[in-house]
Amino acid sequence: MLEIKGLQVKLEEEDKQILKGVDLTVEAGKVHAIMGPNGSGKSTLSYVLAGRDGYEVTGGSATLGGEDILEMEPEERAAEGLFLAFQYPVEIPGVGNMTFLRTALNSQRKARGEAELTAPEFLKLIRAKGKELNIDADMLKRPVNVGFSGGEKKRNEILQMAMLEPKMCILDETDSGLDVDAMKLVASGVNALRDEGRGFLVITHYQRLLDHIKPDVVHIMYDGRIVETGGPDLALKVENDGYADLINAA
């Protein structure tokens, strides 16, 4: 599904290498988690994969379903099935949540040569998906993320994911700023999307999210590299012992 080989990335504006050769493969149907201390490059990895400006790829590759995504525009990556749930979802005053999602969904469908959804079809779909995530009609009518609480913003991210049905979902610290109940809601939204055709890359600081979204593989990232890969028990080990041992071993 997602194959990252020797990915090296520096900041465009300054001579600072962030990713120093990341190797990572997420198979369809699997949930991979990346943990690591602040500044290890986790968020940069997610932004680079999604196509945000400001980064320069200096080496390596990233492919999705065999297609080189690093050369694609962000919207092309999305149409290919890549989705990034933002750590800080952006507020967009004046753009209705519903309009935004319908434009996004139909743009992707159009890019893939699929029929666009009519307004009633879309409405039916979003109401059904919204209900599962406890997102009411009022939230859908409001401008994108404007005035949303932290929990509402994250639920809105998961709603978008559920509507767009991507092949590869990257969740960047989706648990940050959430209380336990909100986290459970978000986790159940993610779990509902788990299936054989879909891969997940869950970036998190803490083990607690992984109690609710059970990963198949856990990676530890430090200083721009994956320094350790293991099963779910690796996350528990980090929770108990911290990163120090792993980092020193690397």
Binding site: P74, A78, I92
Partner: protein
């Protein structure tokens, strides 16, 4: 007084301006013996106002950001080859002017208004024109000289003398379909209890509107200026009676040179004036909105909301002055002018001014210039929205605050469509 100091010989541009006037369709009419005596007098006074002021030059503070030479040069009037279709307003009663002359054969008037063309009124002893022609324009010169408006009064070719007594919607369409020039001068009086919606389209060139709102009168004015190839200098002079409401919105898209001045005076208490606009400029467009509002009554509300979207080498200008006289207590003033620059070469020049002599007023103004929010753009694109569509969404959202000033939802939606069309063809 500054006006008198400007009589020196360096400022003979006005003479040149008048001398240059005999161009197709426009002539100096101040000596027109056939017009009624009051009309000849009003024309002569206007001519004198212009000569005193002189033609505007770049050195004038009021023209700091807009080079008036394109507006004072003898007009090389080549209008639209073909009159543009006005499908959205097709079912609205329409007063038509073609090449600066009223066309009765193309005009239908709604109930609730009476109208005669200025070209007839000037030859008659007609009350409304006689007492009104050039009066608000002259008053509007008190603080700042507006020679192009005086020029219009002196030389106007035609216009509407309109009186609204009921509820009516009228489309004022001003076309140019070849060579020729026009200076249209409209007199609009909305009576107590009347509500007029006036939609203005076509080529505005040098247009003056003198608008008087009686106590409790309501006027909605919507102006659409799209892709004008003729430099446009427009003036609205409005005087609001007690509890009157005047809402004006202008969409200006491209065009080489546009200067829209609104001069508004609150003469009666509890009146409301809303002046809004959306500016969409690309290539080398220069679009200037200049506003001067005088408060001479208590508890009046003024709102100014302008949104500019500028690309390429386009320039947007906003000059907005709120002048609150002593005694104009409880004035509620709000002014917002914001620009989004889509490319590096575009420019927004803004000059907000508050001059307040009353001690119990609330006036605020704010102005911002920036590019589209990069984070929002990336967010939209990361969800699959193509860049152009994402930009269009953000521009539509940005402009909408001004469009929301339009009371009529259908007209507001038409303006949204124009903004979307402009983005789509960029």
């Amino acid at each position: 007084m500054k006006r008198h100091q400007t009589l020196d010989l360096k400022r003979t541009g006005a003479e040149k301006l008048l001398a240059a006037l005999p161009m197709p369709g426009v002539e100096d009419r101040t000596e027109n013996r056939a017009e009624a005596g009051w009309a000849r007098e009003a024309r002569a006074l206007a001519r004198a106002r212009m000569l005193v002021a002189g033609a505007p030059i770049k050195r004038d503070e009021y023209w700091k950001y807009t080079d008036p030479s394109a507006l004072t040069a003898p007009l090389d009037m080549v209008g639209e080859g073909e009159a543009p279709a006005e499908a959205p307003f097709a079912d609205i009663a329409c007063a038509r002017f073609v090449n600066g002359a009223f066309r009765a054969d193309l005009t239908t008037l709604p109930d609730g208004i009476s109208m005669i063309p200025l070209s007839e009124a000037l030859y008659q002893d007609l009350g409304i024109a006689r007492t009104f022609y050039g009066v608000l324009e002259a008053a509007g010169q008190e603080k700042v000289a507006r020679p192009l408006a005086a020029l219009n009064t002196a030389c106007a070719t035609d216009g509407m003398v309109l009186q609204a007594t009921g509820t009516a919607t009228l489309h004022l369409r001003q076309d140019h379909v070849g060579e020729g020039a026009s200076l249209l001068h409209h007199l609009i009086r909305v009576e107590s209890g009347a509500e007029l919606t006036l939609i203005e389209t076509g080529t505005t060139a040098n247009t003056v509107m003198e608008i008087e709102l009686a106590d409790g009168a309501i006027l909605h004015h919507l102006r659409v200026q799209i892709g004008e190839r003729i430099p446009a200098a427009t003036h609205i002079f409005a005087r609001l009676g007690a509890e009157a409401a005047f809402k004006t919105f202008t969409l200006t898209a491209d065009g080489q040179m546009t200067r829209n001045e609104v001069v508004m005076e609150f003469a009666g208490d509890h009146a409301a004036g809303h002046i809004a606009g959306a500016v969409m400029g690309q290539a080398k467009s220069h679009i200037d909105n200049t506003i001067f509002v005088t408060h001479d009554a208590v508890e009046c509300e003024i709102r100014q909301v302008f949104k500019q979207v500028l690309a390429d080498r386009a320039t947007g200008v906003f000059q907005g002055k709120i002048f609150v006289k002593e005694g104009a207590q409880k004035t509620d003033g709000y002014q917002k002018s914001q620009a989004v620059l889509l490319t590096d070469g575009a420019e927004f020049l803004v000059k907000p001014e508050l001059e307040i002599y009353a001690d119990d007023v609330a006036c605020s103004h704010g102005s911002t210039t920036g590019s589209l929010d990069e984070r929002a753009l990336f967010y939209l694109r990361s969800r699959g929205v193509p860049q152009a569509a994402a930009e269009a969404m953000l521009v539509a959202a940005f402009v909408d605050e001004a469009i929301e000033e339009i009371a009529d939802a259908t007209l507001a939606d038409l303006m949204r469509e124009e903004v979307a069309r402009w983005m789509a063809t960029r």
